[in-house]
Symmetry: C2
């Protein structure tokens, strides 16, 4: 496989695993006849049941070579037998759970080095929920749901796996009211583009320089390039954030985003036709 094929599929959580499976279908399509490893490193308990769900889903989508990589502590991430599960893999899927479990247990281990190689060799690395958050250099950890960002607020950030540069990713985005915390992350350093991904929705990052949207809900891009003022550096930690002139794009299936030039555009022609039917599970009823 060529290096230029490398792909990240970053999923906002709750992707469909039993009906249309639009998003998992894209993972399967890209893995093709290759080998897919599903890792439940983000989870402490119930890993077998969760793997079974994905096993069933991916097999129904035609994936033939499917393996489970379970890692319960950092020491396990160095065991040759565990690393060997990733031999010849062309795809890795991170389930949901706790993003700190992922980074603290595999960061800078032979397991991660191997995953990085799979990606650089043109593989597909996918992750949902916690598995989505770890894709960026800086990841959002806990706090800040359904509230506006306070300068000294409870949102914690931690170093992620760094598979995609220059972005901070948040998931379960509109469902958990996370606009405030993502804009707080962008205010801290506008070099990072904020990308908020709704449930049942994913971004497919191709060659690290752009993405398109897949799934039934929305992806929000928060661009701080033109910000003229923010009070984020103020000493009063109880002060609510102020930030002027943020550029924002709300994207849905059929939209692309150029990460280099930070511009959205519609998919047209053959690119758009290749998109699967949008899933219908998304309800328009109020919660």
């Amino acid at each position: 496989m060529e290096r230029s094929d490398r792909t990240l599929i970053i999923i906002g959580g709750k992707e469909d695993r039993s009906n249309n499976k639009v998003i998992l279908g894209e993972v399967a399509r890209r893995v093709g006849s290759g080998k897919l490893v599903v890792t439940t490193v983000a989870m402490a308990n119930g890993t077998d049941q969760l793997f079974e769900q994905y096993d069933k889903a991916f097999r129904s989508l035609g994936v033939k070579h499917l393996y489970h990589l379970e890692i319960n502590d950092r020491q396990e991430a160095t065991i040759p037998n565990k690393v060997r599960i990733l031999d010849d893999a062309t795809g890795v899927f991170f389930t949901g759970g706790d993003q700190i479990k992922i980074t603290s247990q595999i960061g800078d281990t032979p397991i991660f080095k191997r995953i990085r190689e799979i990606y650089d060799d043109g593989g597909v690395i996918a992750g949902t929920s916690a598995g989505a958050a770890v894709m960026s250099e800086t990841m959002l950890v806990v706090g800040g749901d359904e509230q506006s960002h306070v300068i000294g607020g409870a949102v914690r950030m931690a170093p992620g796996l760094g598979l995609v540069d220059g972005v901070v990713i948040d998931q379960h985005f509109m469902e958990r009211g996370r606009f405030g915390r993502l804009i707080g992350a962008v205010a801290q350093n506008p070099k990072n583009l904020g990308i908020g991904i709704d449930e049942q929705t994913a971004i497919v990052v191709e060659r690290g320089n752009g993405f398109y949207v897949l799934g039934s809900s929305a992806v929000y891009v928060i661009d701080g390039t033109e910000v003229t003022y923010s009070n984020i550096a103020e000493e009063d930690l109880k002060k609510t954030l102020s930030i002027y002139n943020v550029r924002m794009h709300m994207l849905s299936q059929g939209d692309r985003f150029d990460l280099i030039n930070r511009v959205p555009r519609q998919m047209r022609g053959r690119a758009a036709e290749k998109l699967p039917e949008k899933e219908e599970e998304h309800s328009a009823q109020p919660a």
Copy 2:
């Protein structure tokens, strides 16, 4: 009183009624020695208990002339005895409840005409929650919490009282995850600026052409002037909204916004010094 003093105080809900009372304090300060009428027209039940809370709060803030205007159906809004409660009033406060109750019961009645006169004569009209939503020409009614806007989604809009032009107001903003529905409203017609007000937070609109922020959380301004593309007019009602190049400002106490030129700026000098201490009830802990 001069016409140029006319003021709207538009509150995102859950304003403090028993401690610092920063926001109600501003209502009281502007009413001064005048007469304040609290109307519970938005509520069907429990109006007496609600009025008592405001009565206690406003009296503790020095308001001496305080009256309760209760309206249970549209016919009552035409009764001279009810209209007379507003005689000589210099301030009117709309409590929370149901915004459709307010507009359907007093829209185009002698009660509303009198309220409009009070405003135009330089009075202060304040409203919280449902009482905030009714201030604009178009108001958001129900639906769309914690989800991204779908073109044929469940958000309903209705004509408001129209005391402030060119804006759509939403309240309980970050707390109820209403970003999606407000951006949907702006997409429908970007001539309207979207203003999302958090709980315990208010905008003070002076002379109808600008506002400043008061209270402990944030106010979001969504400006669609520069939008280059949106799919809002598509026929597929299940499609999730796409919209490119929205300008967004997140404002907190100490910020002003010019509604004519659509630009934010910091309050400085005497204007900033007149601001009360920000309330401390706002918690930085995750929900």
